[in-house]
């Protein structure tokens, strides 16, 4: 921000030259404290070839101060621009210590960042371990995690990945990485078509299941939901991000789209993923315009919390269906029940949301204001 319009002398012109130059009696004054030559017995100095003279004490003070700000460490005479020659006692130990302190000070932010990211990794690992215990059940989970003493490197790699995968899988782009988590987690088990499905098979099949579910939803209840959404005014405007494409529509269309976008956000319909990118080809009635995302803080919070709570929610739903006779068969593992529970959670959530939308729509459309009618 510091401005460098010109050299001070150049900028200021002859009339604004430092005081010393204007005054005829400049020759016998210290250019720093402006005291006269003969007034006291402090050491006098002719530090450069020009007419500026000063007290040694004053100049040392100035040199120390300027060294702190200048990068090169060279201090020059403000009038003749000659560098001052500074002689000082030199010690290798001092120089080494000085460099050491400098390096340590500079490196501190990096240390701090490293410690911070390690803390995040540790937190993610703890979360991952907890998620595995929740979803697989205590006995199977303990077998997968192994004892605390014999954790291999692979575990350190995939356990912290679990929360990241959970969050990423809520976004369109994250779905592509879903099978990756399977590879990381269930490496020892080969993929076999069997019933009840093995964990690796389930995780591999999840994107397909979610896609089919989304399609079916769009065909059935999704239609109704969109209709109610478009009848209601948009809830609140978030931040709009236009991802790609150009929009050649008039203002009315833009307003309508904004409404749809909000509706879109409030439609986290699909297990494991959420289609909040607007205008995809499979969008019924959607002109293939562009991808606009309306992000609101509330939506982001909801998604994050929901993704991270998903293992717990699934396991609770799994435990609930475990009480039904059909799901109590011995072949069905805790993991399978949790997965089915998770799917049921999403379906229930979607249905509850549609119910809410419907009730909201009915409430709004039944509204009128009491008063005498004129005619």
């Amino acid at each position: 921000m510091s401005m460098q319009p010109a050299e001070p002398q150049e900028l200021a012109g002859p009339s604004a030259q430092p005081q010393i130059l204007q005054s005829s009696s400049a020759a016998d004054k210290c250019w720093i404290c402006l005291e006269e030559l003969h007034k006291n017995k402090r050491e006098w100095l002719y530090p450069c070839k020009c007419s500026l003279i000063c007290h040694e004490e004053c100049l040392l003070h100035w040199v120390t101060e300027s060294e702190r700000h200048s990068r090169s460490g060279v201090v020059r005479c403000p009038q003749c621009n000659m560098p001052y020659k500074i002689v000082q006692w030199r010690s290798t130990t001092f120089n080494m210590l000085h460099t050491l302190y400098y390096v340590v000070d500079r490196a501190m932010p990096f240390f701090l960042a490293t410690i911070g990211s390690m803390a995040v990794v540790v937190a993610c690992t703890a979360y991952g371990a907890h998620a595995v215990m929740t979803v697989y059940g205590p006995s199977e989970g303990r077998r997968i995690l192994g004892g605390a003493g014999k954790w291999e490197q692979a575990r350190w790699a995939w356990l912290p990945m679990i929360p990241m995968t959970l969050i990423l899988s809520r976004f369109q782009a994250g779905v592509a990485y879903m099978p990756l988590s399977t590879l990381l987690m269930a490496a020892p088990q080969p993929l076999r078509m069997e019933w009840p499905a093995s964990p690796s098979l389930t995780l591999t099949a999840l994107p397909t299941i979610s896609f089919v579910y989304r399609y079916l939803w769009d065909m059935t209840l999704g239609r109704l939901e969109r209709r109610w959404d478009s009848a209601l005014p948009p809830e609140k405007q978030g931040m709009t991000i236009r991802l790609f494409g150009r929009r050649d529509v008039d203002q009315e269309d833009v307003a309508a789209d904004a409404q749809n976008d909000v509706g879109q956000i409030d439609r986290p319909a699909i297990p494991q993923q959420q289609q909040h990118i607007h205008g995809l080809p499979d969008q019924p009635g959607g002109r293939n315009i562009d991808a606009t995302i309306v992000l609101s803080g509330a939506w982001l919070c909801r998604t994050l919390v929901e993704s991270l709570l998903l293992p717990v929610i699934s396991s609770i739903f799994g435990a609930m269906i475990g009480r039904l006779p059909f799901f109590r068969r011995p072949g069905l593992s805790h993991f399978s029940r949790a997965m089915i529970g998770g799917c049921i959670y999403f379906v229930v959530k979607d249905i509850v949301r549609v119910l809410y939308k419907y009730l909201l729509y009915r409430t709004r459309s039944s509204r009128y204001i009491q008063g005498r009618k004129r005619f």
């Binding site: 510091s2 319009p5 900028l11 720093i32």
Partner: protein, 155 residues
Amino acid sequence: MASVTKRLLKELQNIQREPPHDDIITLGPTSDENILQWRAVLRGPSDTPYYGGAFELRISISDQYPIQPPTLTFVTPVCHPNVNFGTGEICLDILKSRWSPAWTLASTCLAVHLLLSDPEPSSPLNCDAANLLRCGDTVGYNSLVSFYTRMYALE
């Protein structure tokens, strides 16, 4: 007596003995009690749109002066590329990185006075004024500045 007080008294004597410039109307401490607070009134340089205005500056001097530069801020609102219109902060190299004890308060005020006639739009604190200059709209710049001068700074 602290060295800062000594030096400021010397500067004050010099100013009283030979006034620095016709366009510096007043320059001196605001009160007798505190010599570290000064006040200056600059006349707008002729042949600039600031002409006809009187601009008041607040000068705060740290007790490390002259090793540390004084802080100059405009009290009168000034429309200038290197002056913050709201706060009066001045962006001038000699008040920051290029300060040296050879400058006095009088010469610093003159430097600010020269900054009025010689703006530097490449490091702006007032983007609107700087943009007019940067795209070469001198007429627009001059009329904007003289509007603000008439509005806030008439003598």
